[in-house]
């Protein structure tokens, strides 16, 4: 995908990341609730399903999930700061910090998991 020239700047990319992570989480949620519901409806199947979570691939997918969550949270906090706190000149730094923090959180999670 080519990003059109008028969009190639940090805050637009931050917007894109926020939107993609939001959509990703929205897609994940129904699956999440479905599996949770199995605890009530079909406990035996749930155990089988949970065994899957030991596989490295699923671990890596979980890392992605934690990253999406973290980047959406920090990105959201950034936007709330932008709109509610007195203006600061470091909006790009804040956007970069949101991504950095998200990597930190999800990276720590991955290291704990392996």
């Amino acid at each position: 995908m080519r990003i059109r020239p008028h969009r190639s700047h940090p805050l637009w990319l931050a917007f894109l990341l926020h939107r993609i992570s939001g959509l990703g989480l929205a897609l994940f949620l129904p699956a999440h609730f479905y599996v949770l519901a199995m605890a009530v409806s079909r406990p035996a199947d749930l155990d089988g399903f949970l065994a899957l979570t030991d596989s490295p691939l699923v671990k890596f997918a979980e890392f992605g999930l934690v990253f999406l969550l973290a980047v959406h949270i920090f990105g959201g906090l950034r936007l709330m700061a932008l709109e509610w706190l007195p203006w600061t000149g470091w909006q790009k730094t804040l956007a970069a910090s949101a991504v950095g923090l998200a990597f930190l959180v999800s990276g720590t999670f991955l290291l704990q998991a392996v």
């Binding site: 008028h6 709109e83 203006w87």
Partner: protein
């Protein structure tokens, strides 16, 4: 290609040329046409467009007035980015020896590089961007306090030249024809903070209606491209706060 030495007294005959794609057409249809233009020292995009009109095709339409970044009439899309062409140097934006020049995005095209700016200015008025007087000519002058907080906010956004570069950069304008856009909202914010303007609530009502400040996604393209280095995104954040407080306090 031969170049006309008389054009640029005191300069060497340009030997290098650049390929310039210029959008030609009207509201119905159009296409890019390519021109070869001699490369010169200290050449602006507006110089390039003027050269084409003077030497290659006198029917090329475009708009400018001051040539020094004051009037705000010369903005165009250059290599896909909105810019004031009179103060954009070719050297800075030349890509692989070429340029693409198109009419400003998000506005109806009249002909070639000239767009219809009416929707842009109509939205200034719709955003409450007209003076709401508090006194008549018979009253003494209302002195402004330069170091007050409101004055500082107003001053930060006041140097807008109405060039519509921010309006062309904004993706929300592209997606929502009713969105007032960064320049109109920036103007509303300066008036809201102006102690001489008595239209505070009128402005808040105007900018919180459909298509107002709450449609902004804080992508910051306006601020990234404003040639006067204004920060409409910051002004809009101010309006979001002011309208939200006004809603929480008075239900309005």
């Amino acid at each position: 290609m031969t170049t006309d030495k008389a054009d640029t007294p005191g300069e060497d005959i340009a030997t290098q040329v650049m390929k310039v794609s210029v959008w030609r057409g009207d509201a119905e249809a159009g296409a890019y046409r390519e021109y070869s233009v001699p490369l010169r020292e200290s050449q602006t995009i507006l110089d390039v467009v003027a050269w084409i009109q003077q030497h290659e095709d006198p029917t090329l339409s475009y708009r400018y007035a001051c040539r020094v970044g004051m009037c705000g009439s010369c903005a165009m899309m250059v290599n896909g980015q909105p810019r004031w062409t009179c103060r954009t140097h070719v050297k800075k934006v030349l890509k692989d020896g070429g340029l693409t020049v198109a009419p400003l995005r998000n506005l109806p095209v009249i002909k070639d590089l000239a767009t219809d700016m009416d929707p842009f200015f109509e939205k200034w008025v719709a955003a409450g961007g007209v003076h709401h007087p508090t006194r008549s000519r018979h009253d003494p002058i209302d002195a402004v306090t330069p170091d007050s907080e409101g004055r500082a906010e107003a001053d930060a956004g006041i140097e807008c030249i109405n060039c519509s570069v921010c309006y062309a950069a904004c993706d929300v304008v592209a997606a929502d024809a009713d969105y007032l856009g960064p320049a109109a909202l920036n103007r509303a914010w300066t008036l809201y903070n102006d102690s001489k303007d008595g239209g505070g609530q009128t402005i808040l009502d105007a900018v919180s209606a459909h298509g107002g400040c709450h449609s902004c996604h804080s992508q910051g393209s306006c601020t990234r491209f404003c040639p006067n280095e204004l920060n409409p995104m910051q002004s809009i954040a101010g309006l979001k706060r002011a309208t939200a407080w006004s809603f929480l306090k008075g239900g309005k």
